[in-house]
């Protein structure tokens, strides 16, 4: 009887130790899912820019290096070999929007001025002066998405815009 009680007590201690850990595990899993989602969003953003007409990726006129600007637009080209002088231009626009309730930021995407837009990812921190959403290197664009989940590293992509 005494042995059984001791064992049960030991078990209770073990379980009690796992209670906060389970909570931590859940948070970790949520964070992992969020990170994957942000990672995929960054991939999509990067691929869109990789396909852009470099001339239209002009941060001089769209200074997203400033965190106060939350709108980034460019165009993709499709050239028809039978009519190369008038390529089809597809405008793409990304922008961020703050959720005042959760105080996190969501990233949206619009293609070809369509009436519907896509929520690319949510649960981001607002861009900062140190880590703006988009900044320009000499011939590349650097994207930075800041996960709102604590202790998660920023998701960064560097995209060469001249092929």
């Amino acid at each position: 009887m005494a042995i059984a009680a001791s064992m049960m007590g030991l078990l209770a201690l073990v379980i009690l130790r796992f209670v906060p850990s389970t909570h931590l595990m859940q948070k970790t899993l949520t964070g992992t899912e969020s990170f994957t989602q942000i990672d995929k969003a960054a991939d999509q953003f990067a691929r869109d820019i990789k396909q852009a007409d470099p001339v239209t990726v002009d941060l001089a006129t769209q200074p997203l290096a400033s965190p106060t600007v939350n709108n980034f637009a460019f165009q993709q080209l499709i050239v028809d070999v039978n009519n190369p002088s008038t390529p089809i231009r597809i405008p793409i626009r990304y922008w961020t929007q703050t959720d005042s309730f959760t105080n996190t930021v969501a990233l949206y995407r619009n293609v070809n001025n369509a009436s519907t837009t896509t929520l690319v990812t949510a649960n981001l921190l607002a861009p900062t002066a140190i880590a703006p959403l988009v900044q320009r290197d000499v011939e590349a664009v650097i994207l930075t998405l800041l996960p709102a989940t604590p202790n998660q590293a920023p998701v960064v992509r560097r995209v060469t815009i001249y092929h």
């Binding site: 073990v14 080209l77 039978n82 092929h163």
Partner: protein, 404 residues
């Protein structure tokens, strides 16, 4: 009875152990599964990026191939061709299609494979499981002999020049300001990075209709051909060229077999007498070219030209200081480095450098230091199939069709 109860309590404790143990194991497996999914996601991300890199490598390989001198042999108009390569980690396959509608356009579809044991697609040739990416792009191919002036750096157009019969490209283009007549005249002008403002400059006459009534910004920087050491172009000229005796070109010079002369070092041109070109041919040198006198054609009135010389220098082309004060060069130049007039004092009123042809250089075009009273550039060239000049490739669009 007591023994029975005691066994029951122990049984309960054991049961509790088992349940709790199973719960812990389930939790660990759950966590392990999520970690595995995360790892799979990361691997998929990395490998699909690598597959895209292989597709891009295919595009770059095809573009390099298209800049080589024998485009007509490799990809005649209205035909298709393939390029493929593989290494231990992946492969690419590129199909090239050159349309009849506009023979300067080539459509490319590049498929990149990054080998992965549990990849979602199979390599098209060896059947290995892979991650795959497909990229579509279109290139405009321009023969270097079609440019009046081309430079992948900054170029300033002097005020008052007449460049109206050729087209010009520079990464950064500036039109020098002036007020006297005649004004600057240009034909088609292109840039990729920057142009002097305003564009169009009011002191420049653009002779071509819209959109060429101003300097036109290209989508991507044109890729200039590599004619240097180790390049495929150099190998082509070595393979099909005839040695240039003494590395000099003087007097009446007829086209060699294969229409290519290959020099082994610096080439002296017209150092004893003006060069008179008969036939269509190229002189290629791995060194510099020194121009001492005129380059003319035996039959200059023939249109299209039946006599034409193209000079390809891996290094510089120099117009020497002792060259005559009225110098005429009827030729096309493709220069691995710079095209220069060697520095000297003024040659006096009436001195003139006349270049009827074109210059494509990698680093600099500068004849302002040659002391010329006037410098006149006018486009002339030939698209004869015997003139195997390399090409410039410009990417017009880039589409990721598929990336897993």
């Amino acid at each position: 009875m007591r023994l029975k109860n005691s066994l029951g309590e122990q049984g309960s404790a054991l049961l509790a152990w088992i349940v709790i143990g199973l719960a812990i194991m389930a939790g660990m497996m759950w966590y392990s599964h999520y970690s595995w999914l995360d790892r799979v996601s990361t691997v998929q991300h990395i490998s699909s990026s690598r597959a895209l890199e292989y597709a891009d490598s295919g595009i770059n390989a095809a573009r390099d191939r298209l800049t080589q001198p024998d485009l007509g042999g490799f990809l005649p108009a209205g035909t298709t061709s393939q390029i493929a390569n593989a290494d231990a980690q992946g492969s690419y396959y590129v199909s090239l299609d050159r349309t009849n509608a506009d023979t300067s356009l080539v459509s490319l579809i590049a498929t990149g494979f990054f080998y992965l044991p549990k990849g979602g697609v199979l390599d098209a040739v060896n059947g290995r499981p892979s991650q795959g990416s497909v990229v579509s792009t279109k290139l405009r191919i321009t023969n270097t002999g079609e440019y009046l002036l081309a430079l992948p750096h900054a170029m300033t157009i002097d005020y008052g020049v007449d460049y109206s019969n050729g087209f010009i490209y520079a990464k950064d283009l500036a039109f020098q300001f002036g007020t006297t007549l005649p004004r600057t005249r240009v034909g088609r002008t292109f840039y990729t990075n920057a142009v002097s403002l305003p564009n169009p400059a009011p002191w420049v006459t653009f002779t071509q209709p819209a959109p060429y009534d101003q300097a036109v910004q290209l989508t991507n920087k044109p890729v200039f051909p590599n004619v240097g050491a180790g390049s495929s172009a150099k190998q082509y000229y070595l393979d099909f060229g005839t040695p240039l005796p003494g590395n000099v070109l003087n007097g009446l010079q007829t086209a060699p077999a294969g229409n290519i002369f290959y020099a082994t070092g610096d080439v002296q041109i017209a150092n004893t007498s003006d060069v008179i070109v008969q036939g269509i041919f190229i002189v290629y040198t791995p060194g510099n070219v020194h121009i001492h006198g005129n380059i003319t054609q035996q039959n200059p009135a023939a249109m299209p030209p039946t006599d034409w010389l193209a000079i390809i220098a891996e290094q510089d082309v120099h117009i020497v200081t002792a060259a005559p004060n009225n110098l005429t060069l009827n030729a096309s130049f493709v220069v691995g480095s710079a095209f220069l007039s060697d520095t000297r004092g003024p040659r006096g009123v009436g001195s003139q450098l006349t270049i009827n042809g074109g210059i494509v250089a990698q680093t600099r075009i500068d004849n302002s230091t040659g002391g010329w009273g006037q410098r006149v550039y006018s486009f002339k060239g030939t698209n004869d199939a015997q003139m195997k000049l390399p090409n410039v490739a410009e990417m017009l669009d880039y589409r990721i069709i598929f990336s897993q």
